[in-house]
Point group: C2
Chain length 242, copies 2
Amino acid sequence: MQNPTAAMLAIGDEILSGRTQDANMHHLAQELTAAGIDLRECRVVADDHDAIVEAVRALSSRWDHVFTSGGIGPTHDDITADAIAAAFDRPIDVRADARALLAAHYAASGRELNAARLRMARIPDGAALIENPISTAPGFILENVHVMAGVPAIFRAMLASVLPGLTGGAPIQSRTLRVERPEGDVAEVLGAVAAECPDLSIGSYPFVEAGVLGTNLVLRGPDPDRLEAALAELKRRFGGLA
Amino acid sequence: MQNPTAAMLAIGDEILSGRTQDANMHHLAQELTAAGIDLRECRVVADDHDAIVEAVRALSSRWDHVFTSGGIGPTHDDITADAIAAAFDRPIDVRADARALLAAHYAASGRELNAARLRMARIPDGAALIENPISTAPGFILENVHVMAGVPAIFRAMLASVLPGLTGGAPIQSRTLRVERPEGDVAEVLGAVAAECPDLSIGSYPFVEAGVLGTNLVLRGPDPDRLEAALAELKRRFGGLA
């Protein structure tokens, strides 16, 4: 059985301009891997309506789940919610449940629920809200797209609340074998073992440490027995070099 | 005049599995911004021939320049060069100039130029080589696609050697105004100024410091005079709060 698949769409000029380094992709990749969901593609697009709409449609139709980050705040450049609604041809307006959350939050903090903040209650018809335990303004789920904040702490909290609701496959596990030989010396054997184990993903990652050229061989797959068998085979073939 | 546009394609299961955090996108974004080239889209795909071919074709036809990272090493999962050749319907084989570079390098280091390492001399017909001052195996330029290594130090060295050959536009500069008010309080004024300055990109980035909710307002554009004028207008409207 294939694991479910997923894609990420990060939205924001600040990433593309180099002002901010995206921190959410790596976290999402680790969490999905642990949940048995295969992250297969990531994209980063600008705060541009048409670019967001096109990317959401492409990723949503291709993969089982899509996770977006960014563009759901109160300012003029926060256009994600409207773009998601457009991607699925859904109406969007301030919704009573989201508005009630914001009204309670700002009343408690003594700040005004002004027009800008009310934009954060714009939710497409038919979407389910995602809780925001940090700053209240919710994310939402529409079709197979999970729309979340770009601020890393909020992205993580939202992901933690939606992941348990997704059906994962077998968690992908990994085994690493450190070999103190350069990548070009291990490539032939590694390729042969990879060909014998089409159910595993086998990668090689060169390193240099204290003048030694070495390679980390990483085996990935859902079945621990298969991983151990392939690991043993690699150890056997590389003998005392590992 | 519009600045030239660019996209990045990062290739590698290790990023999508969460094993490795991509470090090249942020560096590329900063370097292109400084060079007056607008990075408009990034994608990450797996070590999958069809996925690479499709992404290269989509990005190459849409943007002026494409920069790829990863998948040009000696092992079985290094399939980028063949995928790039396929994307442009070019023949690919071990090329004499690339082979000569590798032969000299391995002769000097006393290591064997074996079949696995020779794969790194597979270069599509018509491509120009990109120098690799760190480990010799070259990248290449085919059409508008710059094919570079995923190892950050090599990616940076290759980028440094190709950037001077690209015609950039006016470098994009930025100005930041720190305002100690939450994003929702500055959104209305910020949106009005953004509407008055369609030639500038204006973003807002909330922060929390020592219990204070604040917002960094970031203005970006090629014309320093326009930036200073907009900055002055924002300072005026936010008065002593900035």
